[in-house]
């Protein structure tokens, strides 16, 4: 993964020099270990800022809506699926994009690594193909990447970009791995009262900063329902009813659209497993409609389509 950095710089430089695109969206190395920053580059001379490692965990598709120029964008499997979403939902035009696909072996979860280190401060991270070395004052520890992947990457079935104009590296074999909805099924099994308590517990630390929503490429509404003030749908205090309303409604707005990229969880400053809300609906979309978001350019998600000839009577 790390050797992608140089290729990324080259490709971006070429695209800008040859004016294939007006700007390139990629990642810059962060000012701290495990951090990266999405950047927009529009001069070939500045492409050296581009960077890639296993902590490029934000979803760059989030930066596409409203862009007017031709954009080059580096896209992991999940990012590419959100680009498909954007195209289908008319947030950007296909011809405006030059997509450089990056087959992705999974991003590392900074929350898990923080939990491992406790109060020890991480000062340096270096990675090899399968492992990561963490260094700080008085410690050096090498961990296996596979043990510290983001949860969504562990169960990812689309590591390869689903849409691209050029590809960085070779396509990967897709996971045939474990049931990605194992944990959802566990939650489904418990009684409704207990389940409610479980979800209440999940959001007990939520501070309503909306990092999960704002990191999400799906959440591009000009005014989110929680920000609507006339009429005001949701209270603004820390009352758990309002907090829960936000999380549940947001999840429903993402039903059949979520690619499980995990940006919400990586953005959350309070380490909340926000994906537990959206994944139940991903599972339902799959089980009820055979649908996975962001794979088809010519079909709208099942929950935003209406057909007069629908085979279900109740909707006709």
């Amino acid at each position: 993964m790390m050797d992608y950095s140089n290729k990324i710089k080259e490709i971006a430089k070429k695209l800008l020099e040859e004016k294939t695109v007006d700007s390139v969206i990629g990642f810059k190395k962060g000012t701290l270990p495990m951090m990266t920053m999405p950047i927009l580059i529009n001069e070939p001379g500045k492409t050296d800022d581009l960077y890639w490692d296993s902590f490029c965990n934000m979803n760059l598709a989030n930066y596409l809506p409203k862009r007017a120029e031709k954009v080059g964008i580096f896209a992991k499997g999940c990012d590419s699926r959100n680009i498909v979403n954007h195209i289908v939902e008319n947030q950007i035009k296909r011809e405006q994009l030059h997509i450089i696909g990056i087959p992705c072996e999974g991003m590392l979860d900074k929350r898990k690594i923080r939990a491992l280190l406790g109060e020890k401060e991480l000062k340096e991270v270096s990675e090899s193909k399968t492992s990561v070395t963490l260094k700080g004052e008085g410690f050096e520890e090498t961990i296996e990447k596979k043990d510290y992947l983001q949860d969504n990457c562990k169960t990812c079935l689309h590591r390869n970009p689903v849409i691209y104009d050029e590809l960085l590296g070779d396509l990967l074999a897709e996971n045939q791995g474990p049931d990605p909805y194992d944990d959802v099924e566990q939650i489904e099994k418990i009684g409704s009262g207990e389940r409610w308590d479980f979800f209440q517990g999940l959001i007990k630390n939520c501070i309503r900063c909306y990092a999960c929503r704002n990191a999400c490429p799906l959440c591009y509404c000009p005014t989110c329902f929680v920000d609507e003030s006339d009429p005001q749908w949701v209270g603004k205090s820390d009352d758990s009813v309002d907090t829960m309303t936000f999380h549940l409604l947001r999840a429903y707005h993402c039903a059949g659209r979520c690619t499980d990229c995990g940006a919400c969880e990586q953005a959350c400053p309070m380490d909340i497993n926000v994906r537990l809300f959206t994944r139940k609906l991903n599972k339902d979309a799959l089980k009820l409609y055979g649908w996975e978001a962001g794979l088809k350019l010519d079909e709208r998600p099942p929950l935003d389509t209406y057909r007069p000839d629908d085979y279900d009577e109740f909707i006709r």
Partner: protein
């Protein structure tokens, strides 16, 4: 007032004794992976190696939501439609282990809430009820830049008491009368000996040297506000910003709030809630006009407020204490130190 000492193994005893007269809060993890201030119960122990809490302790004086008033909309009630001040708890509270940067933040915010023209009744009441018992930072993180923000790892300014963690002993330094009173209440009266005091000085000096992050803020005051406002770097800074409220909500000095009425049947509350200049709604007029409709304007507002407007208004330094929370937890790595560098250039 003179420095006191106790043995480290007596520290929990001291805290439990304090509970007779104070609500005692210490940093604790509960079932999360991070520390927050938690009411001292039987199971909590004080972790001297803790770095800092995920959320800042500003909420002790400025809770995320606070009921200001109550009212009845039931016309048969005598005081229907008339606001009554809500009861609020302002009993003595000791925050033990607060870091000097976070204590400084109370001073920064205080300039706003307690000024010659207006005193915010809730802020002042809560603030007066707090006794801040700071723990000096023996091992500051590389994201700590308190010494560039008018503080230091053992800065005493915002504290009532400062604790030095010196292996087997704790040196306890009363700073204010309030702090002295707390120590009297808890019968802390063993004078610190000179060797321990010397050790405290050494630990403090060593820690200040360990601060590796330095940013100059010297030119901010003399800079022209309009030139800074119109500077070319804001677009670059703002690009990655997702306009969430992480920086403002985690920040120990961000104080902006909203006031909302909430009604349940015919009884209601007027509540104030943390608000964030990152949110478009923050400045949206009822007419639909918004003076800060774009993300870049909101990002600029946050930094200009902290690093220029506050500086000009109060002549009290910057409205940042260098705690490093936003640096660590901004999901897209917008690093305020880099912004300060650009603004001070």
């Amino acid at each position: 007032m003179t420095d006191k000492m106790i043995k480290k193994d007596q520290f929990m005893g001291f805290l439990h004794k304090l509970k007779n007269d104070y609500n005692v809060f210490i940093p604790a993890k509960e079932d999360d992976n991070f520390y927050n201030f938690t009411a001292l119960g039987e199971k909590e122990t004080f972790d001297f190696d803790y770095k800092n809490t995920r959320l800042s302790p500003k909420s002790f004086a400025l809770p995320q939501s606070e009921k200001m008033f109550e009212f009845s909309l039931n016309k048969s009630d005598k005081d229907a439609n008339i606001l009554r001040e809500a009861a609020s708890d302002s009993s003595n509270t000791a925050i033990v282990g607060i870091r000097p940067c976070d204590a400084n933040a109370f001073k920064v915010i205080n300039a706003n809430f307690d000024n010659p023209e207006f005193r915010d009744p809730w802020w002042t009441k809560h603030r007066d009820s707090l006794t801040l018992i700071g723990l000096g930072c023996n091992e500051p993180d590389s994201t700590c830049f308190c010494t560039s923000a008018g503080g230091g790892p053992f800065d005493e300014k915002g504290l009532d008491i400062l604790l030095f963690d010196l292996d087997e002993h704790i040196l306890i330094r009363p700073i204010t009368k309030k702090g002295g009173k707390l120590l009297e209440t808890a019968d802390i009266n063993q004078e610190a000996d000179s060797s321990l005091k010397q050790k405290a000085d050494e630990v403090k000096a060593a820690s200040e040297k360990k601060i590796s992050s330095h940013v100059a803020t010297d030119k901010l005051k003399s800079k022209n506000a309009l030139e800074l406002f119109n500077a070319s770097f804001w677009d670059d800074i703002a690009f990655s910003c997702i306009n969430c409220g992480t920086c403002t909500f985690l920040c120990p000095t961000c104080w902006c709030f909203d006031i909302q009425d909430e009604v349940n049947y015919d009884q209601g509350d007027r509540i104030r809630n943390w608000d964030s200049c990152m949110f478009p709604l923050f400045t949206l007029h009822a007419s639909g006009h918004n003076p800060r409709p774009e993300k870049v304007q909101r990002v600029r507002q946050r930094f200009m407020h902290k690093l220029k407007y506050y500086v000009d208004k109060y002549d009290n330094g910057i409205a940042c204490v260098g705690c490093g929370r936003c640096v660590k937890y901004c999901p897209v790595n917008i690093d305020i130190r880099e912004v300060i560098r650009l603004m001070n250039e």
